[in-house]
């Protein structure tokens, strides 16, 4: 392709899709601005700062790290949402509350193990977090965290399987919209069941004072990263690779992809479709629950609506990645997470979600099928 062709292609793109051109200009401005800020070069025009400014590399690095952390959690939770969408053909609005269920199951388990191994005297009711926060610093016991992660997954899996059995399975052939509406009902029921038991109060779950930290040097400062964040990143990345291995290498994973691809043919081929659906709930539920446990570990607070609040970001990530694609859900989640945090360079943190959704909308303008749309990996 020669220069003239490139030029005319570019011109056609601008004429046919002006939004794309606008987006390009805006991105270019933001990129230049970011570079100038990082180089500490403010550019003023008539006394007004138009571009550039000051931003410590370490601050920016911390934004990126925060974004990655949020993104990994959103991506991890999104895998299940995307899988149930492609295999069961409906958008499960209760998915966020599976995240919450997992977080509560996991933290109760972590407290019980923590109190037991650390020999702390606390009434059992408080360990179970009923109405009041527990004061045990579960993080002092790594065993408590490991058990918590496993029980978080297990709690969400049992919830997901139970709800599938009593709600979704009887409606299996009713189509996507009735199932979607039912899932909103399930979401509300689940959330307020949690409120009924644990109350609406938000509680701190880990003692923040004593967390070991590492500092990543950046030249003009350091990016602090604590052990909670490290645990989250390692756990999320390991699980994502695990999902990749499962889908590409195991018989079950291939059957899941086959079913996402073509349900009727899967049935005719002799793939036991109900078993594959159960496996889908198990994997999706486990990842949602673990994501819930991890985000609470990182943030330090647990309340009944963490999953619901996360659900919007999860949906944004899944749609951005191309709904139905597992890899899209992971990538989309990370993009959304990073966008919401890096946006803090320019806007106050109250608007972080606005930035995340703007990125989603802009990407979809350019690529309506999503990043991985049409690839259909499951």
């Amino acid at each position: 392709m020669d220069v003239a062709e490139t030029y005319s292609d570019g011109r056609r793109l601008l004429v046919e899709r002006p939004a794309v051109g606008l987006l390009g200009v805006a991105l270019l401005y933001l990129f230049v601005d970011l570079m100038l800020r990082l180089a500490n070069v403010p550019v003023e025009l008539m006394g007004v700062e138009v571009i550039g400014g000051t931003l410590a590399v370490s601050t920016f690095g911390r934004f990126l790290l925060d974004g990655l952390i949020v993104g990994l959690v959103v991506g991890l939770a999104g895998v299940g949402l995307s899988m149930t969408y492609s295999i069961l053909n409906f958008a499960n609005f209760a998915h966020g509350d599976y995240v919450t269920t997992g977080a509560f199951s996991g933290w109760i388990a972590a407290y019980l193990v923590g109190a037991f191994t650390l020999g702390v005297e606390e009434p059992i009711g408080r360990l179970l977090m009923i109405q009041a926060p527990s004061l045990v610093s579960a993080f002092s016991s790594p065993l408590a965290i490991v058990v918590g992660i496993i029980l978080a997954g297990l709690g969400a899996v049992l919830t997901a399987l139970f709800l599938d059995r009593i709600v979704y399975r009887p409606m299996r052939d009713k189509g996507g919209i009735p199932l979607l509406i039912a899932s909103i009902g399930v979401a509300l029921a689940l959330r307020y069941a949690i409120v009924f038991i644990f109350g609406t109060g938000s509680r701190g779950v880990t003692a923040t004072g004593s967390i070991p930290e590492v500092a990543i040097p950046t030249g003009d400062g350091t990016i602090p990263m604590n052990l909670h964040e490290g645990t989250l990143i390692v756990a999320a990345v390991v699980l994502m690779f695990g999902i990749h291995f499962l889908l590409q290498r195991t018989k079950l994973g291939k059957a899941m992809r086959a079913m996402a691809d073509n349900k009727d043919l899967a049935q005719v081929t002799g793939i036991p479709t109900e078993r594959v659906i159960r496996a889908t709930w198990i994997i999706g539920g486990a990842l949602a629950g673990i994501a819930g446990f991890l985000i609470v570990l990182e943030r330090g607070t647990l309340s009944f609506n963490i999953g619901w609040r996360l659900l919007l970001l999860i949906f944004a990530g899944v749609i951005l990645g191309g709904i139905g694609s597992v890899y899209g859900a992971m990538a989309g989640g990370i993009v959304i997470g990073i966008a919401s945090r890096v946006s803090l360079v320019w806007i106050p943190s109250d608007f972080a979600r606005v930035a995340a959704f703007s990125v989603m909308i802009l990407v979809l303008l350019y690529r309506p099928e999503g990043l991985f749309g049409g690839v259909k990996t499951a």
């Binding site: 018989k251 291939k254 059957a255 992809r257 086959a258 996402a260 691809d261 073509n262 009727d264 043919l265 899967a266 049935q267 005719v268 081929t269 002799g270 793939i271 036991p272 690839v375 259909k376 990996t377």
Partner: protein
């Protein structure tokens, strides 16, 4: 194969009553008085049909006659309202597809018959899903029969040509070495120069001992090659005879084969 091996029955009596068809007790596939459809809608009425071991049988007829419905009903994918389907001595009426596959019945649907986002090899592996392990010797046989599939085994199935996809669909069904292979319009959507090749391949599958039950739009070619054919009209059997006899029957020619 096709030419004149079937006994030439007299079909001057055009409206053969379904109940007059000769059926042997130990047919591989035995469909009796089958009523079936979708929901409350009845498509098939009292369809009788049988396929013997190693036989090559085709079902032809106008659009909407219920040809594909016959196959789906045999495979348990429709609402069966009456009648029986027996395969290899067992009653499979209304059974789940995953049970039927175990008995040695393979089915290649008309469209969407491959997993397009899976690789060619993964498609074949799915064909053997009900087995604990992918049978290597079957895989080798399928590759021998369709060398292009071995060449492209890592390729995403959806990116192959129509003819290659059809071969893959057949290969997938052959992974379990079925006694009877049901093919729903294997020539649909193929370029004209590939149709002949596809029929040749089906001939060879049948020559290797697998019974074939095939639905075809390309009625003349199908009847020329098969042992026996059924003409299905409005959900009912109208004619049954050897392929050659049907091809030469004046009424069948005029009404269904375009003169």
């Amino acid at each position: 194969m096709s030419s004149g091996t079937g006994d030439q029955r007299d079909v001057t009596d055009a409206d053969v009553n379904a109940t007059n068809f000769t059926t042997s007790e130990d047919s591989l596939l035995q469909v009796g008085d089958l009523d079936a459809g979708y929901g409350d809608l009845k498509i098939l009425e009292e369809v009788d049909m049988n396929v013997e071991d190693g036989e090559y049988v085709t079902i032809v007829g106008p659009n909407g006659a219920g040809k594909s419905t016959v196959m789906k009903s045999i495979f348990g994918l429709t609402n069966v309202m009456g009648g029986t389907v027996e395969f290899d001595g067992s009653d499979i009426t209304g059974r789940m597809p995953e049970d039927i596959i175990h008995l040695g019945l393979g089915y290649v649907p008309q469209s969407d018959n491959i997993f397009s986002s899976l690789s060619v090899l993964e498609n074949l592996e799915m064909g053997a899903y009900i087995l604990d392990e992918v049978p290597q010797e079957r895989l080798d046989e399928v590759f021998e029969r369709f060398p292009i599939l071995e060449e492209r085994k890592g390729q995403k199935a959806g990116t192959m040509s129509g003819g290659q996809q059809q071969m893959l669909a057949m290969g997938r069904a052959l992974m379990l070495d079925p006694d009877l292979l049901m093919l729903d319009e294997p020539s649909a959507g193929l370029a004209p120069d590939l149709v002949e090749d596809m029929f040749d391949r089906i001939d060879r599958i049948n020559e290797a001992g697998t019974a074939v039950l095939m639905v075809e739009q390309n009625a003349k070619e199908a009847l020329r090659r098969c042992d026996r054919g059924y003409v299905l009209v409005q959900g009912q059997n109208r004619f049954m005879d050897s392929g050659d006899a049907l091809l030469n029957d004046q009424q069948v020619r005029q009404e269904f084969l375009g003169g």
